[in-house]
């Protein structure tokens, strides 16, 4: 059904002479929208099992720092409802749960400190009461279009012991299966590059966010420093596909990955697209000189 809608949308757009017709880029190749969606689905289907391992080896573990920085920027308080789109293997979701749990701990400790001179019985009771509340009603919904990625994510969650406040939904970022005005924060980490119609995804993000809600996007972006850019290109095109072949047995997927990074709009352009979707106070922060950028906007 989404495929049909997308084709109709493409046809309507083409008839109105809007955009670049149904021709899109898949890495450095040119394909139709439909083909692109399928190809990307296949890419992630094949990399799903080795996704985390490849992330660590390609970025030398730095992707963990990037995701931590994203979480610190979000600074969620207990009670936040997070939608993590293209959240596949759950990295952002698990970090969110950890963060909220520690904030909640600190809150409870502060509350206890204020009540001096409690008897042991009372302290025990207060811990009992708040045991059900270790997350403070925070919840994260992980939404991904790819079944394989979700499967890997669920397995990881079980393995690491995350169960409360976590749910897994199969869905398309261009057409989210959620009601309007539902979520406090919408994140998409290293996922928006793979969305075929970025504007639709941004509009959906706007729709499902509550008023005052925040949009956060963590994505590879453009390096402006020429020397660094040269080194980065060298690393990307010479090393990463090789790593892909050696570790995951899949050269083509990782070739797609580095090509898609080059095709993705640079920081300012993405900022303009986010503003077009209706977000305010849109800003971006470059990490590692622009290798990665965090874009943030508010639905006001």
């Amino acid at each position: 059904c989404p495929a049909l809608l997308a084709r109709l949308a493409g046809a309507v757009r083409a008839s109105r002479g809007l955009a670049a017709g149904p021709e899109m880029h898949f890495g450095f190749q040119t394909v139709t929208e439909e083909e692109r969606r399928e190809k990307i689905y296949q890419v992630f289907e094949s990399v799903a099992k080795k996704y985390d391992v490849m992330n660590d080896s390609m970025t030398l573990g730095i992707h963990r720092v990037w995701k931590d920085i994203l979480m610190h920027k979000m600074n969620p308080c207990p009670g936040t409802l997070l939608l993590d789109v293209a959240g596949g293997t759950g990295d952002i979701a698990f970090r969110f749960i950890n963060y909220v749990r520690s904030v909640r701990q600190r809150q409870l400790q502060r509350k206890l400190k204020q009540h001096q001179n409690l008897s042991w019985q009372e302290i025990f009771e207060s811990y009992q009461k708040d045991k059900f509340d270790s997350l403070g009603d925070s919840q994260v919904v992980v939404c991904d279009i790819n079944r394989e990625m979700l499967k890997v994510g669920k397995q990881k969650a079980q393995h690491l012991g995350y169960s409360k406040g976590l749910s897994w939904v199969l869905g398309n970022a261009e057409e989210l299966p959620f009601d309007d005005d539902k979520f406090d924060v919408y994140t998409i980490a290293f996922g928006i590059r793979n969305v075929t119609r970025i504007d639709l995804a941004l509009q959906e993000a706007y729709r499902v966010l509550k008023p005052g809600g925040r949009f956060l996007c963590l994505e590879f972006s453009h390096v402006s420093n020429p020397l660094l850019s040269r080194l980065y290109d060298l690393y990307s095109f010479q090393v990463i596909p090789v790593l892909g072949e050696v570790i995951a047995g899949d050269w083509k997927s990782y070739q797609y990955l580095v090509e898609s990074i080059r095709q993705f709009p640079p920081q300012e352009e993405l900022k303009a697209m986010i503003e077009d979707a209706g977000f305010f106070k849109v800003d971006y922060e470059n990490l590692n000189f622009g290798i990665v950028a965090i874009h943030s906007g508010f639905k006001l």
Binding site: L5, L8, A9, V12, K73, M74, N75, P76, C77, G79, T80, Q107, D184, V185, D199, L200, Q203, L209, K210, P211, G212, G213, R214, E275, D276, G278, F280, K281, S296, F298, L300
Partner: protein, 286 residues
């Protein structure tokens, strides 16, 4: 095909909410004044209105100003003002801002618009207090001009102005030390220094200071010192009604007055001595 309808719908929504928001703003002062007269729950009424009314929306992307548009700054102002209510409980933190945003019907994520250390909240509060002080001094000044009140002597004026300003801290006094330390962060020093100096300026202006010489600097330095020290004394004052603080303030202002008198006395004595010496020299030379 929803995507096609989106832009048109949004425009309608924006203008409708703008109009409603403007009406809300116009209605608000009325409801608050009727609150005073009738004591009935328009207070209960307003929280019900809040979730129903859509948050005021902004200009179109073109950024054209119209009379009834609320800018991002105004919204941030409103969030910070709402957040002040939660400061005694949560401190000057992003949590207080998040609670404030919640009361306005916004998501708690809106607190992400501000720094996580609460700097903007504190600066906003200081700025609001300074505005209140200005209005108070202006009102008193008008009364004096209309002849309805006596012009206060300078030490009493300074004392009352500083006391009025410091009393505004009383509801937040427990968490104020935290705020003072945040104001000293290098990032915040320009802004906080600016607010402090403009407040001191204001007080001297209404005190009738029209000096154009070095006195301008000395006066401001003296009053700044008085204000800062009194503020610190207030932080650890546990006397009822802060009367120890007000006594300290009185003494400091009196000291400052004596100092200036002494200074002018010393100056005139010095001049007299110099003249005497000159006279003696002339006599001797003749």
């Amino acid at each position: 095909l929803r995507c096609q309808h989106y832009p048109a719908l949004r425009a309608l929504q924006t203008s409708a909410t703008l109009r409603r928001a403007f009406d809300e703003h116009r209605k608000e002062p009325l409801t608050s004044s009727s609150q005073q007269h009738f004591d009935s729950p328009p207070a209960g009424h307003q929280p019900e209105q809040e979730p129903q009314r859509p948050r005021p929306s902004y200009t179109g992307q073109g950024g054209q100003e119209s009379e009834d548009y609320e800018s991002e700054e105004q919204l941030q102002h409103r969030i910070l003002t709402a957040a002040l209510e939660f400061v005694p409980e949560h401190g000057w933190t992003a949590e207080a801002i998040a609670e404030g945003a919640k009361t306005l019907g916004l998501s708690v994520a809106a607190a992400g618009m501000f720094h996580s250390d609460g700097s903007e909240l504190i600066l906003h509060f200081v700025s609001e207090c300074n505005n209140r002080l200005s209005k108070l001094l202006e009102k008193e000044h008008k009364l004096v001009q209309l002849g309805e009140a006596e012009k206060k002597p300078i030490d009493e004026f300074l004392r009352d102005a500083v006391e009025a300003r410091l009393r505004m801290l009383i509801p937040y006094i427990e968490k104020w030390p935290q705020a003072l330390s945040v104001l000293l962060f290098p990032r915040n020093i320009p802004a906080s220094l600016n607010l402090l100096t403009s407040m001191i300026d204001d007080i001297w202006h209404y005190a009738g200071d029209q000096s154009t010489d070095f006195n301008w600097y000395t006066r401001r330095a003296v009053l700044t010192a008085i204000y800062n020290t009194t503020e610190l004394v207030m932080m650890q004052d546990s006397s009822p009604g802060f009367k120890d603080t007000w006594r300290f303030l009185e003494n400091r202002v009196a000291d400052a007055m004596t100092m200036s008198n002494t200074a002018s006395q010393v100056q005139s004595t010095g001049e007299a001595v110099v003249q005497g010496l000159m006279g003696a020299a002339v006599t001797v030379s003749n």
